[in-house]
């Protein structure tokens, strides 16, 4: 019991004094997860919005595969990316294995199905309710998907935040492809796993507390996003310049 409180006190001290090792790991985590989330959400939201309005042969099968990928274990993604990037793999020439880029690639692949599936669901439902009225003023499917995506922006913001939460809290993929190299590819989750196994509980606890804090902020943002139902803002340039 004492060791828990001692560790917690040391962890608190590390956080209060902005321990350089702790700060470096936290900043690296935020950078990797932000980059992968931005890439996956951009691709996933465009693809999901298009899937929400497009009708083509094989769409049902594609959606089934997409929904299956929602349950993709992070270690499987890590393993696949490892095999792709390993020296003898098809992308081995990039030399990305055990690097920041490999971690971003792995997390992007992990988050992409989440962003795509959730956006698809939101836009498909909006299209079922309002698509006909947009079609009646001449909006074709691509433009309809963009306009409906814009109209469902508060839902998509929640999707964005949920994707970031998924990225920052996973450990398996970044551990495999990043290698948990100190000062280079060590992020919060991999550091917690390592420090716990080494018995350095204060640093692990401090990192755990920061991770919880990040998740708490995300939840608060999701709650705020739920309350935001849009303003009288003009249409975004993206919708205005779409073909």
């Amino acid at each position: 019991m004492n060791s828990f409180f001692d560790s917690a006190a040391t962890a608190l001290s590390l956080m209060i004094h902005f321990d350089p090792a702790l700060v470096a790991i936290v900043l690296r985590s935020l950078a990797v997860s932000s980059a992968s989330c931005a890439i996956a959400c951009f691709l996933g939201m465009v693809l999901g919005a298009w899937l929400g309005v497009a009708r083509f042969a094989g769409r049902g099968a594609l959606l089934t595969v997409l929904n299956t990928l929602l349950a993709l274990p992070s270690v499987v993604v890590g393993l696949v990316v490892y095999l792709l990037l390993s020296r003898s793999g098809p992308l081995g020439f990039l030399g990305w294995l055990f690097s920041f880029k490999a971690m971003i690639l792995a997390q992007s692949l992990l988050v992409l199905p989440v962003a795509t599936a959730l956006t698809h669901r939101a836009v498909e439902e909006a299209d079922a309710h309002h698509g006909e009225q947009l079609a009646s003023i001449g909006a074709r499917p691509l433009l309809r998907s963009l306009l409906l995506g814009w109209d469902e922006r508060h839902v998509l913001l929640t999707v964005l935040i949920a994707c970031f939460g998924r990225a920052i809290s996973e450990v398996g993929a970044v551990m495999i492809v990043g290698g948990n190299i100190d000062g280079f590819t060590r992020v919060m989750t991999t550091a917690i796993a390592l420090e716990t196994s080494k018995g350095d509980l204060p640093l692990a606890l401090a990192l755990g507390a920061v991770l919880l804090l990040v998740v708490l902020v995300l939840n608060a943002l999701i709650a705020l996003a739920g309350r935001w139902h849009g303003s009288a803002a003009d249409l975004p340039p993206l919708a205005r310049t779409a073909a």
Binding site: H129, E132, A135, S136, I137, G138, R153, G230, D234, R240
Partner: protein
């Protein structure tokens, strides 16, 4: 009078359900056509076929190539953007530049009395205001034919009167109106021609006076008799 649209032997089926059957009709310029019938008779489906939102399973829809048309729905939906942008959007989609579309949206808003609300979020408007906005969005396109699917059925009496007044003004300006309605009083006030549908078939297509004064329809169908007595509205 010029024929703007013509339906020839149009059938529309959704699986085993026949929504429209052997519909033949012409929409002539300047007419105010009420499409009436009980729920499920095919009124909304007919309007959607006329607007090109649904393709007939059989038969053909012919349109005057120079004709412009617009449609207003029972429950209009607006983007969560400003009232002004919602009107400009329909113009922009039809090929105007955004700046030009914004300029042309202003007279449309003035036409329906919504200028003061131009910068408000459209989704915060009342039902009556949203329907007027839908009319502005349609009017901005300067359509030759305006299709309206039960445009006043979800409105309170005051908003209903406002929308009816706008429909009358549009018709006076030469716009051809085709509207679905359950409200026989409204049909008598606004229409010059009545199309009565029953189970997807056109049972009567008559000038309004003839439709309401002649006993023809009531004798033809028991359902029509009940509908005209207001028991199936």
């Amino acid at each position: 009078m010029t024929t703007l649209m013509q339906l020839k032997c149009v059938d529309l089926r959704f699986g085993r359900v026949t929504a429209l059957s052997q519909v033949d009709l012409k929409i002539l310029a300047g007419q105010r056509i009420a499409v009436i019938g009980a729920n499920g008779s095919g009124k909304s489906t007919l309007l959607r076929v006329l607007h090109g939102l649904l393709r007939p399973s059989a038969g053909s829809v012919l349109r005057d190539s120079a004709m412009r048309q617009a449609m207003v729905f029972q429950r209009p939906w607006m983007l969560r953007a400003s009232v002004w942008s919602n009107v400009a959007l329909s113009l922009w989609i039809r090929g105007r530049r955004w700046r030009e579309a914004k300029e042309q949206a202003l007279p449309a808003l003035a036409r329906v009395g919504l200028s003061e609300l131009a910068l408000r979020n459209a989704s915060t408007l009342s039902g009556g205001q949203q329907q007027r906005l839908a009319l502005a969005r349609a009017w901005a396109l300067r359509p030759d034919v305006l299709l309206l699917d039960e445009p006043t059925s979800s409105l309170d009496p005051h908003a209903k009167r406002e929308v009816e007044a706008l429909m009358e003004e549009f018709a006076r300006d030469g716009m051809t109106l085709v509207f679905a309605s359950h409200n026989l009083g409204q049909v008598k006030r606004l229409a010059t021609r009545v199309i009565y549908l029953e189970q997807g078939r056109v049972l009567a297509d008559l000038p309004v006076q003839e439709f309401f004064n002649g006993p023809l329809l009531a004798r033809t169908s028991r359902e029509a008799d009940l509908f005209l007595k207001g028991e199936l509205a």
